[in-house]
Amino acid sequence: MPLIETEVKTGETRQVGSLELTPTTNVLKIQLPGNHGGLVWNRPRAVIVRGQDGVEHTLPVTDVTRMILWAMLGGGLIGALVIGIAYGIRRDKSTRSDNNDG
C-alpha cells in the first residue's frame, strides 16, 4: 500500500421507489512507514441517482460547515492583511507629518 492514497469509492446501489441511489465517497489514506499506524479520512462525495428512464443525475454532497469555516479563515487572513497594511500606511503618514512639523 502506498504511503498516501486517495480514491473514490462507490457503495451498493439502493432502490428507493423507482429510483436507484448509488453513494460515492472520497477516501484519503495515509499509512505510516513500517505499518505502524495511519490515518483514514472518509467523506461523502455524491449520490448518483438513476431514474426509470435510465438517466443519471449526480447530486454532490456539500459540506457547508467546512465551506463556512474555510471562508471564515480566508476572510480572517484577508482582514488581518488589510488591517496590517492600513496600520502601516497610517504609521508612515504620521511619521512623515511629524518629520515635517519638526
Partner: protein, 145 residues
Amino acid sequence: MTDEMNVKQSGETGLEAFQGTIEEFLLSADVGVVYGEPIQHEDTIIIPTAEVLSALGFGLGSGSGTSGEQEADKPSQGSGFGGGGGGKVLSRPVAVVVASPEGVRVEPVIDITKIALAALTAFGFMAGMMARMSSHKRAFPEIEE
C-alpha cells in the same frame, strides 16, 4: 534461549493483535461507514451521511541482554517486550439525503456550534492583534530631538 523464544512469541502475538487492529481500522474507509442506514418515514427515505476521520499509531519493541558481572560461570540473562498505541475516531454529520416521490435532494447539516466557536476564535485573534498594534504604537513614543 527460552527467554528469547518467549520474547519472540509474545512479539509475534502482539504484532498479530496490531495487524488485526490495523485491518479493522482500514474498514473505516468503507462507503457503509459514511452513509448510514436508510430511515423510512411514510413515503420519504432519509439517508444520513457523515465524514469519518480515524487515526491510529503504535510501536513495539523488544530486547534481551546478559550480564556476566555477578557470576562468571552462569551469566544472568534478561529480556523484555513492550508495545503501546493509541487511536481516535472522529465522526461529524455532513448532510442528509432525502428521497421522496418528488425526487431526491441533499440537505446540508450545518454545525452552528463549530462555526460560532471558530468565529469567536477568529474575532478574538483579530481584536488581540489590533490591541497589540495600538499598544505597540503607544509603547514606543518618538524621542524629540
